[in-house]
């Protein structure tokens, strides 16, 4: 029997398939090698730390992002032995991503977070207390903040530092739309807001919208809800027991107002139950929405937009008790920096310290329109200049209308947001009865925090 020689077998197609596979495999291994080389530990003596933020330093159109690029650049210059890697994680995801990453020991070394999520992070053991670094501070240093030390401390341990302070219950309104309807001043009470919104709502234009989508974690509502409740003498949860109080009389008034705005006054669209804050902001910018509540940090960006020049202005959240008094300032809703894992503590702490430095805060104030967290920063002449008038006005309001930052101490905030969103959506989209819907939501929340 004649054996086909190996040579003749190879002449045909035979071996090539395997070789191709091997070649692809080899390429893959090679690519991974290149990747690993790129990620190689920094040159001898250099420490690499990862910083999670939702501002993209490469975004030239966003003043806050530009500010970040500058102060992070200043940090790098001042710390040549630290290699800082920024990673952009969107603010809607950054809490969950940090929880997951921390559980897997793959968390970054420093992370920016919305301050209302610091408590859940601390409870989950995802972030480290910073007391070992602050124990040596003098009392003057500790008191150099415009906010209370305990705002970001839980059970006596300090977990985060504010990265900026924002009195968040600001109302942005379109001067042009209000003036066209005959109003010279913005609304100061809920009643006025209702009246003026009604007058403005016609055709394409809507007077007011409150978005209640879960996908952005009730970003707008969770900022104004606490002051709304405070004005009415209540709060979202009881400070001592952490149990729900959002369903009591104050809450019923608030949600009834929302429901009436849809069905009685016919201002808000039913669809607001599933809108997110981006959609609403978009409408505001394009001239189809007359007013929206948001935090002070938006001013820098919006005031510079072509389409809004001279057309937008700010005032305070209208008083929901319909009294001619200002609403207590909600200074929560700012952002904080936390330290998730302990691998590179010293370097991570350097970054956290730098972000609170006068230098960094000044850059953030000048370029990004953010209020500094430290009284010593405020001593800079920049804050005496006319361009800083709006900002100092916010600070004055804050100190004139203080309120303990109870919203930072809410247990399992993600659950509260979930049940509130559900309740709000039912009240608005299904026109369900306010009292019972809120009661059910309160039960759900209480069941999960025990």
């Amino acid at each position: 029997m004649k054996r086909p020689s190996r040579k003749s077998l190879r002449d045909g197609k035979p071996i090539t398939r395997r070789e191709t596979l091997k070649r692809i495999g080899g390429t893959a291994v090679g690519l991974m090698g290149i990747l690993r080389a790129r990620q190689a530990p920094a040159a001898a003596g250099r420490v690499t730390i990862r910083y999670w933020t939702w501002q993209n330093s490469a975004d030239t159109k966003n003043p806050r992002a530009q500010a970040q690029a500058q102060f992070l650049g200043a940090f790098r210059k001042a710390n040549p032995d630290i290699e800082l890697i920024e990673e952009v994680v969107p603010w809607q995801q950054i809490f969950h991503q940090l929880l997951q990453a921390a559980a897997a020991n793959k968390a970054p070394d420093v992370s920016k977070q919305l301050d209302r999520f610091v408590r859940p992070l601390a409870d989950a053991g995802a972030i480290l207390p910073l007391d070992e670094f602050t124990s040596s501070w003098s009392p003057e240093r500790r008191n150099d903040y415009v906010y209370a030390w305990d705002d970001t401390a839980f059970d006596g341990r300090k977990f985060a530092f504010r990265h900026a302070v924002r009195p968040v219950n600001i109302m942005y309104y379109r001067k042009d739309l209000y003036e066209a309807a005959g109003f010279k001043t913005p609304p100061k009470t809920a009643k006025e807001l209702t009246e003026m919104s009604k007058a403005v709502t016609k055709g394409n234009i809507i007077g007011y919208i409150e978005p209640f989508s879960k996908s952005d974690l009730l970003a707008k509502f969770i900022l104004i809800a606490p002051p709304m409740y405070w004005t009415l003498g209540s709060d979202l949860t009881a400070p001592k027991t952490s149990k729900a109080t959002f369903h009591l009389e104050a809450g019923q008034k608030i949600f009834q107002w929302y429901q009436d705005m849809v069905y009685v006054h016919k201002v808000c669209p039913v669809g607001q139950a599933s809108m997110d804050s981006d959609t609403v902001n978009n409408m505001f910018m394009s001239g189809t929405l007359a007013a929206t509540m948001d935090h002070t940090s938006k001013w820098a960006e919006w005031s510079r937009k072509e389409a809004l020049q001279g057309r937008v202005d700010t005032d305070w959240l209208p008083n929901f008790a319909n009294e001619p008094k200002p609403t207590p300032a909600n200074t929560a809703g700012g952002w904080t920096v936390v330290m998730p894992n302990g691998a590179k503590k010293e370097a991570a702490w350097k970054l956290i310290e730098f972000l609170q430095s006068n230098e960094s805060e000044l850059i953030d104030a000048k370029m990004g329109g953010e209020l500094p967290t430290r009284k010593s920063t405020l001593k800079d002449p920049f804050f005496q200049a006319p361009e800083a008038k709006r900002m100092t006005g916010w600070l004055t309001y804050m100190s004139a209308n203080p309120h303990p930052a109870t919203s930072l101490k809410i247990k399992k905030l993600e659950v509260l947001i979930d049940v509130l969103a559900d309740a709000a959506q039912q009240i608005i989209a299904n026109k369900s009865e306010v009292k019972s819907t809120l009661a059910v939501a309160a039960q759900k929340y209480d069941a999960q925090i025990s």
Partner: protein, 281 residues
């Protein structure tokens, strides 16, 4: 009589084209809209009524996306994951498929059933424990864990597909090689495998498309730009862009165009992969 039939034929042809044209518009409209939006200047995107074509056309959004974000890195990751998964799946699949096609052995039926039964398992059922396992083994946020998970999900389909292809290759060829002194595996590698090139290509393409488009597993098993694939990068970029439609559309376009081009060039094999086995009997 003939005249009426001619008119009928004409009308039917016109009807055919109109129907197919409408269906094509349906199929392409969303894609057209995204490309349209991505080529416009930002302020044109919040104009009302919407503008149906860009004027002027600008590439600034794409430049923005490709230079000012992690998207290029995400591209690299997706490519790596695709290659890695395809290699692993093919290596596992050709051997298992060959065994299934050529051999009868005890436990074959239940084994194959286990393999195919994974089609019945919704991905979300295993995502929670897989996440926990990845954390426990320290594999969270690595390329390796993604490749392993992706390969596990794609292997059953590929085995099924390759089994069909191998069965189509006459046993006599194996036998001839055996007679000539090849080992069993030798016969496989030298004779059968090269002839199944269409099947391998089809499998590789199907797996590539699936891996390229996979999102939820990657979202929960990665924690850094070093490992995030394009889908997660796109999702983050869109969330972060807020209301900058042009930017979002450019990111979407950047994710869309490669896969459509890939498909357009390889559609024959792709279709073969989809239909293999399903048209048996």
């Amino acid at each position: 009589m003939t005249h009426r039939r001619d008119v009928h034929a004409w009308l039917r042809l016109i009807g055919l084209y109109v129907t197919l044209l409408s269906a094509s518009i349906f199929a392409l409209a969303p894609i057209y809209w995204v490309i349209n939006t991505s080529l416009k200047e930002e302020r044109q995107n919040i104009s009302f009524p919407p503008r149906w074509w860009p004027d002027p056309i600008t590439l600034e959004q794409y430049v923005n996306v490709l230079t000012g974000s992690s998207i290029p890195r995400n591209y690299l990751n997706s490519t790596l994951l695709a290659i890695g998964t395809v290699v692993l799946v093919l290596v596992l699949g050709i051997h298992a498929g060959y065994a299934a096609a050529r051999f009868e052995f005890r436990g074959k039926k239940p084994l194959l059933f286990i393999l195919l039964a994974t089609v019945m398992v919704p991905g979300i059922v295993t995502l929670i424990p897989v996440y926990i396992m990845a954390v426990q083994f320290g594999l969270h946020d690595t390329h390796l864990v993604l490749i392993l998970v992706f390969a596990a999900w794609q292997t059953p389909t590929v085995v099924w597909l390759l089994q069909a292809f191998f069965e189509n290759i006459p046993r006599e060829l194996d036998e001839a090689a055996l007679i000539d002194g090849c080992s069993r595996l030798g016969a496989f590698y030298r004779i059968v495998l090269p002839l199944s090139q269409p099947g391998l290509a089809a499998a590789a393409i199907l797996v590539t498309v699936w891996v390229w488009n996979e999102f939820i597993i990657a979202l929960n098993l990665t924690a850094s730009n070093a490992t995030r694939p394009l889908t997660v990068g796109l999702f983050f970029f869109v969330s972060e862009s807020g209301i900058q439609w042009g930017k979002m559309a450019a990111a979407a376009g950047a994710a869309l165009v490669p896969i459509i081009v890939f498909f357009a060039f390889l559609q024959r094999r792709f279709i073969q992969g989809l239909t293999a086995g399903a048209t048996k009997g």
